[in-house]
Amino acid sequence: MSELKGIYALWYRETKVFLRERSRVISSIINPLLWLLIIGFGLGSVVSFDNVPYQTFIYPGVLIQTALFSSVFFGVYIVWDKKIDFMKEVLVAPMRRTSLFVGKILGGSTDTFLQLLILFVIGFVFSAGGIMPSLHLTVLSVLISLGFLLVTTVGLVSIGLIIGSQMESPEGFQLIISFLIFPLFFLSGSLFPISNLPTFLAPFIFVNPVTYAVDGIRSVIVGSTGKVMVGSIQLSPAFDFLVVTSFSLVMIGIGTYAFKKMKI
């Protein structure tokens, strides 16, 4: 009972703070919009894959990008918590470290999900307005996508928290994160189909868990265009989901351990 209350307290705090920091909310929406409007439509005027226009093609990628950046970056707040003494106040409370980790995951995931929901609304508007044709946003496809995004987000928030729990300064955190985020994003098939890639890139793409999240979401809301192929076989969304879930479970495991070892 007490653990649940503590988890709720942490979630409450993160969510309140997120909603009150207008700049965070606004930038989190502007950024994906820029990708869709500038990169999507800019390249969309010359690029399409199997009659799927580029802006539609990258929509799942932009969803994942939002999840990726927002989730991993969330870890910086734990560095700030350590800098001010908020972390001491929490660590000295009669609550398990695991609950602290869970509370933080819930907080970070909520932040990310609020942004993703807005992106889905934008997706609906664009697709209904005809500027993102061939986007299949049905109740089922959105639910499946949200499932993928949820599991991915939890794993990614964990990554951010793991790194944050070990770092002393926000600057150091940001440095490490940018080394991590960009490869994860660019090597995920978010921006281009990953069939027919040069062989030196292929291994990186296949070990990147984000690849499978993009692949799963794209297969339900765009279709088979740009699907990941192993030989001549397409990966099934179920397989994608399995990979992403395993990734998140491993990250939660490492995160729990990292929080137990965290020093202030």
């Binding site: 503590g6 709720y8 307290a9 920091e21 001010i84 106040e89 409370a93 009669p94």
Partner: protein, 323 residues
Amino acid sequence: MSIIETKNLTKKFEKMTAVDNLNLQVEEGEIFGLLGPNGAGKTTTLLMLVTLKPPTSGSATINGFDIVQQADKVRKSIGIVFQDPSSDEILTGYENLKLHGWLYDMPDSLREERIKEVLSLVDLNDRKNDRVKKYSGGMRRRLELARGLMHHPKVLFLDEPTLGLDPQSREHIWKYIENLAKEKNMTIVITTHYMDEADKLCDRLAIIDHGKIVVLGAPKKLKKDLGGDIIRLKAEALDVEVLRKLPYVKEIKPCDGEVCLTVEDANAHLQEILKVVGKIDSVEIRTPTLDDVFLHYTGRAIREDNPEGSWAEKAMTARARNE
């Protein structure tokens, strides 16, 4: 068994020993003070006792639980007010207190009742719905205090509780702390570098310097042990040797370019001393303070430099988070 016991509690950082083989027993219901200059090891001792920093060697128990092996149980028995700000400044004062109530699993009705109580104690009732960001340094300090006092733990640690507060607020806080100890039989450990605070509040105190206990006892007794009153003399030419021969002069020490004598029953002997000394510029008689106790045992005064700078610095760091 004492409610707090430390056995050779030691904390070493890379090059320095912050806490050096500390042996302490604090009894239940007692207000115990750790008095010493900044950097004496008070805060490090506290952080070890509240399970936030592991000791390098030695051990300690609180409420019978080991601070390393049974940290969970220790945390259930304690509360602490930190020296540095630890509230979330994007939340309101009230929300910070509510958060604390949740973290400590307080029943809802009790939580709301206590929030009201502590808010009026620290005089923040009419600002409770403002974000902490908008609070002044003193208000933030009072909020921290309010929060620490909220859940009535068995042992309450206060790290420099009235740092940077105005005299009136300090009086309020002292009274509340005294009541907690008396009425709830709460054990309270405070660190302070304010002599008057330690003197007024503590049943017993340990004077700490360089991580070691210099002397320990009730403030009254410590002062009495000095063996008399203090006479402070300023004179151009002072014959110390003559003074030394007087049987009732216990100690002669230079202090800030003047001379301080410890004298048994100073009022009775003042006339005689003045006669011996001859022409003087000024004289002052007073009963000893804890500062004199500290001076007696360490040979120097407690530095009165105000650590408020670091407090303000931290607050600024916290603010930078929003920018």
